[in-house]
């Protein structure tokens, strides 16, 4: 089981689906950011699994995984800063009360 690529890809797919559910269903903006982190981790897991089982991708996959981590860190920084800027104006972290542009 741990010696087949499919098992890792299935686990990665389930993790991605959990992240998708969290992003679509949660009301809190920070929960949505956590779900995005879960989805990024799922993609990273599949990249590293490809690197471990396909010889041509062996070193490259780890490099790509490290790049994805750096970009995820940048995304988390800017995303949380945006959430805090909105929170300062609206006094709520719930995304369905951010309806200024609808009114």
């Amino acid at each position: 089981m741990s010696q087949s690529l499919d098992a890792y890809l299935v686990v990665s797919g389930i993790l991605f689906a959990i992240g998708t559910f969290g992003f679509l269903a949660r009301r809190n903006a920070i929960s949505m950011l956590m779900s995005i982190e879960l989805m990024l981790n799922a993609v990273n897991l599949s990249i590293v699994a490809f690197g471990a089982f396909i010889p041509a991708l062996n070193g490259t996959a780890s490099v790509i995984a490290l790049m994805v981590m750096a970009v995820a860190a940048a995304e988390a920084t800017v995303g949380l800063a945006i959430v805090m800027a909105i929170y300062r104006n609206r006094r709520t972290p719930l995304v369905d009360e951010y309806d200024t542009m609808r009114q």
């Binding site: 299935v10 686990v11 982190e37 897991l45 089982f53 070193g59 981590m69």
Partner: protein, 204 residues
């Protein structure tokens, strides 16, 4: 040694006892499979780590208290680092622990503590679209699993480890340009984050 034997044990002659002891002292073989389950050690580790990771990821999206969501996320990241080690990528696992647990999870926990007001209305955790979202997520998981299983990836049946030496060589020769671009991106993100989060005020 002989005196430590319980009194009820049958007497063993010295020659066979010492021979057996010498044989056992040379090497205690670890069985290739876990005795009770009949699976290999790698499989058992993978099953445990994957179960922990998926379970705590479910907790991240289901729990009501958002601080506990953040703590469950740390557990999920740790289990994922274990899976990276199992995949033979120890440097990626170390970066996972440093970057995700050490930086991103802590950042998210700080943001949680700064934005969750005590008097904020604690109503439903989920949007009204939670049920369609759950159905869509399950369909997505089944589709990904079926597609990944049905595709022939040309994969070998044995994991290949990635040495840190080779990875560093690759990172600082072939991929030096993406590396530098990522550095600039991180600098931009830090400056942008400070600009967005700083208090608009008297001097602005």
């Amino acid at each position: 040694m002989g005196t430590a034997r319980p009194a009820g044990a049958p007497p063993v002659t010295h020659t066979t006892g010492s021979a057996r002891g010498a044989e056992g002292a040379e090497e205690v073989p670890i069985p290739g499979t876990v005795p009770i389950l009949g699976m290999s050690w790698g499989d058992v580790l993978f099953a445990i780590l994957a179960a922990v990771m998926l379970g705590s990821a479910l907790l991240v999206v289901m729990l009501r208290d958002i601080i506990r969501c953040g703590l469950a996320m740390i557990v999920a990241f740790g289990a994922l680092a274990g899976i990276y080690v199992l995949l033979g990528a120890p440097l990626v696992a170390a970066a996972q622990v440093l970057v995700y647990i050490g930086a991103i999870a802590v950042l998210i926990l700080f943001a949680v503590m700064l934005t969750q007001a005590k008097n904020a209305p604690v109503r439903l955790v989920f949007q009204a679209q939670a049920l369609p979202a759950a159905i869509a997520a399950i369909v997505l998981a089944v589709m990904i699993a079926l597609t990944a299983s049905a595709t022939d990836w040309g994969a070998v049946t044995k994991r290949i480890a990635t040495g840190t030496d080779a990875l560093a060589r690759l990172l600082f020769t072939s991929y030096i340009l993406p590396f530098e671009i990522v550095s600039v991106l991180l600098l931009m993100a830090v400056i942008g984050g400070i600009f967005l989060a700083k208090r608009e005020g008297r001097d602005a």
